[in-house]
């Protein structure tokens, strides 16, 4: 069958940097093609090239017979495009946005009524016609963005990271909608950083640093790893096992999954032996089916260097509750952002707050850090109510905010100097600590570079370094791994694990459900309420049923959310 779009030898440079290099692929109609890769891999650039918004330096792109450089008018008429920020006019209502795009795409006025009705029903937005787009939830914005892109029944649909930060329920709906479209013959390009979505595409284009690593059926790629994936269960200290396993040369990847450790062996390596991995009696090793992520990580892992460990601050935790939230509530006018949340975190524990954007995770965090006073209830950190206590008490806290909050115009060293100074590190102690941080986080060649120009992975490392330099007892990490590739994420978590082993309590927020597996306990936040709390495996247990004998955390989330909605009778 004639491909819908052809990408031939495309190269793209921005300034001196090569963003795409020699990409050749075809996009077929009636299929969902996933564009997968870490941040900075070139996904958005490729999507924009397909949309005719950028011109390639090398090669050519033909979409539905139109060249992306010379025939943009025809190209624009044939495609539907949803950019990363949805392209919605926040001051306009749902109906007005649809109307605008309908007119821009030349939909006959006679057809407006029927098309809108269909699209609104399809996207679950019927009844919201007069709501301003800016007042919609994240999931609803996404669906509206999709509806606007579909208005003129395009032949090729280009979606740039359409599901980022959206709650899993909406994400599944979006997925269902798009697959339905593919079945009707529309060609879809769906760019994503979520590997579980990539797994479900008909075909994937795997990009890394501008190069195409794989083009084809994801299942075929995963199958190559058959017989190389195992899970270790029943040991006492999963962190130690994971750290040890990772260091072994025959292990390509080692991850904590609930109470167990998942291993992927290097190609050609023999299956692991229990005794070599752990001394715990009763520990078992079983082979399991590989996932796409295993393939992805294996293909991407260029750096197998050992990760140096953080300096030990000679702390040993202590016992008892370190962080406590009791009936924590926060209102903004009429809107209740956080509703009577209760939980506690012990020393040396990693606690994860899970939930989609806008659920109330960051707000809860801020109350615990003393950045926001609660409307009612109490938040105590290190035994102190930070909203009232002296700023010196904050010396014991470390905080890494969502945007990494680095001073982008200052160099790496200047950033570190600043944070050291602000936390009272002076003289020799400052010099030594900074030197150690630079060494541990691999920042040697970057000390003079502006923090703003660093690749995302290094920004994250710098932000973590700045947060822990003063040896805090409690670490607050707000979405620390958004946008970062799986390898950097793994490295990051190894540092976190190391700190937890030292007795530091770590609170993390994330919308990546697989990261929840790395935590000791998690709390699922939905619409400001804590709808479940406990160890990851325990939560999965809550939803295990005959229909779902082996639920993933995402299944658990969806089920719990549906349960919560049902008990409330609320509309999504």
């Amino acid at each position: 069958m004639e491909p819908l779009a052809t990408i031939a030898g495309v190269g793209k440079r921005f300034g001196g940097a090569v963003v795409l290099d020699g990409i050749s692929a075809t996009i077929a109609a009636g299929r969902v093609t996933g564009l997968v890769g870490a941040d900075g891999a070139g996904k958005t650039t490729l999507v924009r090239l397909l949309a005719g918004l950028l011109t390639p330096e090398d090669g050519a792109i033909i979409v539905c017979g139109h060249d992306s450089v010379t025939a943009t008018d025809g190209l624009h008429a044939a495609i539907g495009y949803m950019p990363q920020r949805f392209g919605l006019y926040e001051d306009l209502s749902v109906a007005e946005n649809l109307s605008l795009y309908a007119d821009l795409r030349g939909l006959a006025p006679a057809a407006h009524g029927e098309t809108f009705a269909r699209l609104l029903g399809f996207s679950g937005l019927a009844g919201f016609e007069s709501r301003l787009a800016g007042k919609l939830s994240g999931g609803m914005k996404q669906k509206l963005g999709l509806a606007c892109a579909l208005i003129a029944t395009p032949r090729l649909l280009l979606l740039d990271e359409p599901s980022v930060g959206v709650d899993p329920v909406s994400r599944r709906e979006l997925w269902r909608m798009v697959h339905g479209l593919a079945e009707e013959g529309v060609g879809v390009v769906w760019s994503t950083a979520y590997l579980d979505e990539a797994e479900r595409c008909h075909s994937v284009l795997l990009l890394d640093q501008g190069k195409l690593l794989y083009d084809g059926d994801p299942a075929l790629l995963t199958r190559r790893f058959q017989g190389r994936a195992f899970v270790v269960r029943g040991m006492a200290d999963k962190r130690a096992v994971q750290a040890a396993a990772r260091a072994r040369p025959d292990v390509a990847d080692a991850l904590i999954q609930g109470a167990g450790v998942r291993l992927v062996m290097v190609e050609g390596a023999p299956p692991p032996v229990v005794a070599e991995l752990t001394t715990s009696a009763g520990a078992t090793v079983e082979p399991i089916a590989p996932r796409f992520e295993d393939a992805f990580v294996a293909m991407l892992d260029h750096r197998h260097a050992a990760i140096p460990s953080l300096p030990s601050w000679g702390r040993h935790g202590g016992n008892g509750t370190v962080v406590e939230a009791k009936g924590l509530t926060r209102r903004f006018g009429d809107f209740v952002a956080v509703d009577r949340v209760d939980f506690s975190v012990a020393a040396g524990e990693i606690f994860g707050l899970l939930g989609p954007n806008g659920a109330g995770k960051s707000t809860t965090f801020r109350m615990l850090c003393g950045l926001l006073p609660p409307s009612s209830g109490e938040a105590r950190t290190a035994g102190i109510d930070l909203a009232k206590a002296a700023p010196e008490a904050r010396q014991r806290l470390g905080y890494m905010s969502q945007k990494f909050s680095l001073y982008s115009d200052l160099s790496v060293r200047q950033n570190l100097d600043f944070f050291a100074g602000v936390y009272g590190l002076g003289g020799a102690k400052r010099r030594d600590t900074i030197a150690r941080m630079i060494e541990v986080f691999g920042l040697e060649h970057l000390t003079g570079q502006n923090a703003g120009g660093l690749p995302l992975g290094f920004k994250q490392r710098l932000a973590l370094a700045a947060a822990i330099m003063h040896g805090p007892d409690i670490l607050f990490l707000d979405e620390p791994t958004s946008g970062v590739d799986p390898l950097v994420r793994r490295e990051f978590w190894s540092h976190i694990n190391g700190m937890a082993a030292e007795g530091v309590s770590v609170l993390v927020t994330t919308h990546f459900l697989d990261e929840a597996e790395y935590c000791d306990r998690i709390g699922i936040v939905y619409r400001g309420r804590m709808i479940a709390i406990g160890a990851p495996d325990a939560i999965k247990e809550q939803v295990r049923s005959a229909a779902m004998p082996d639920p993933s955390l995402e299944d658990a989330f969806v089920a719990l959310v549906e349960r919560a909605d049902w008990t409330e009778g609320a509309k999504p």
Binding site: Y399, S405, L410, Q414, F418, Y423, G426
Partner: protein, 369 residues
């Protein structure tokens, strides 16, 4: 504690200097404004263009006209043949004023009598016209003086000789450039301060600051000091440029000048921090600064004197720091103002600072979210 504040100050100064946008704002607009304001802001009336309708043609008339042609203030002199041409020249703005010598002018003068000279001014350029009229009056008065002497009359008391103090040649530059020390310093300090918090909020680093052991007042000091330093540097540059490039004399005390600048900057920084606390984006901060700067400069006496404003408005301008710094700059550059006089303008600015700085601190805490 001191270490924390110092770290913050160093970071602020680095951030302002290394951010291309704020570096641009610090250097380019002030330079452009310095050039433009200094040279364009002139009330000098030079090259007066004049139309002359000489219905007379006699000797006396021609002699009088020769005086006008010889006068340095008068540029182009357009001779017209009749009233219509004169009207057209005036209406079309080709000339600023028109002179009409009636038919009997020379006859009357030579006969020892009195003759009238019609001067028509273009009211659309009211200020310029009045000043041009003044020049014309001076020329006529000198001519009158000679005529009277020639006629051997009881001498007409001559034109008044007036002396101008502080700025003997009425140089616009001497008035404008010292004023710019205040105005431009203010613009720079205000923009830097207004941007500082807004930028941190946009970047997400403000949250980070609040989580550290820094107290709110320490953060305030940490933002005030860099802006103060930058403002003083800017002021110094203009001070030097004023003397070296523009040739404006400075006869006052440097110490008093810097003391005045510090008080001024503190009051301005307070306003800037206020604006910054209210803004969530850099965009809003810039607009907010703009909305303060335009009325503040307008109502300061920089372009037009405060004394020309309605009385109630004059009182209101006492709360405008720029009004005070202008008085101070003119005084220190041109009048060698003594300390007691300087104090009279400094204390209002200190009051303003005492209100705005703590006000900004309070606003910060309230607007954290």
């Amino acid at each position: 504690m001191l270490g924390r504040i110092l770290a913050l100050i160093i970071k602020e100064m680095l951030a302002v200097w290394r951010d291309r946008k704020s570096r641009f704002v610090l250097i380019v607009p002030p330079l452009i404004q310095l050039a433009m304001f200094s040279y364009a802001a002139t009330y000098d009336v030079t090259h007066v263009t004049m139309a002359v309708l000489n219905e007379d043609g006699g000797l006396a008339g021609r002699e009088l006209l020769a005086r006008f042609e010889g006068a340095p203030a008068f540029g182009r002199i357009l001779r017209v043949a009749n009233q219509e041409q004169m009207a057209v020249a005036l209406e079309s703005r080709e000339v600023m004023l028109a002179l009409r010598l009636p038919q009997d002018f020379s006859r009357r003068i030579e006969g020892g009598g009195q003759a009238s000279l019609q001067v028509i001014l273009d009211g659309r350029r009211s200020n310029t016209a009045q000043i041009a009229m003044g020049y014309a009056n001076t020329i006529v008065a000198a001519y009158n003086q000679e005529l009277a002497a020639a006629r051997g009359l009881a001498a007409v008391p001559g034109a008044l000789v007036s002396r101008v103090w502080f700025n003997p040649n009425l140089e616009s530059l001497w008035v404008v450039v010292p004023g710019l020390v205040g105005v431009l310093t203010q613009v720079v300090a205000l923009v830097v301060t207004a941007l500082s918090v807004a930028r941190e909020r946009e970047l997400g680093t403000f949250e980070q600051l609040l989580v550290t052991p820094l107290r709110p007042w320490e953060i305030l000091v940490g933002k005030t000091v860099p802006a103060l330093v930058i403002g003083l540097i800017e002021g110094t540059i203009i001070l030097v440029a004023a003397q070296v490039w523009f040739g404006v004399p400075f006869i006052g005390s440097l110490l008093l000048l810097y003391a005045a600048l510090v008080a001024f900057l503190l009051s301005i920084i307070g306003v800037g921090l206020f604006i910054s606390a209210l803004s969530s984006t850099q965009q809003q901060a810039i607009l907010g600064a703009f909305f303060f700067i335009v009325p503040a400069i307008t109502l300061s006496g920089f372009a037009t004197p405060v004394e020309n404003m309605p009385d109630w408005l004059q009182v209101a301008t006492l709360a405008n720091p720029i009004r005070h710094i202008l008085v101070l700059m003119h005084g220190l550059f041109l009048k060698a103002s003594p300390a007691a006089l300087v104090w009279k303008s400094v204390w209002p600015m200190l009051v303003i600072a005492a209100v705005t700085l703590p006000g900004a601190a309070w606003l910060f805490r309230r607007r954290l979210y």
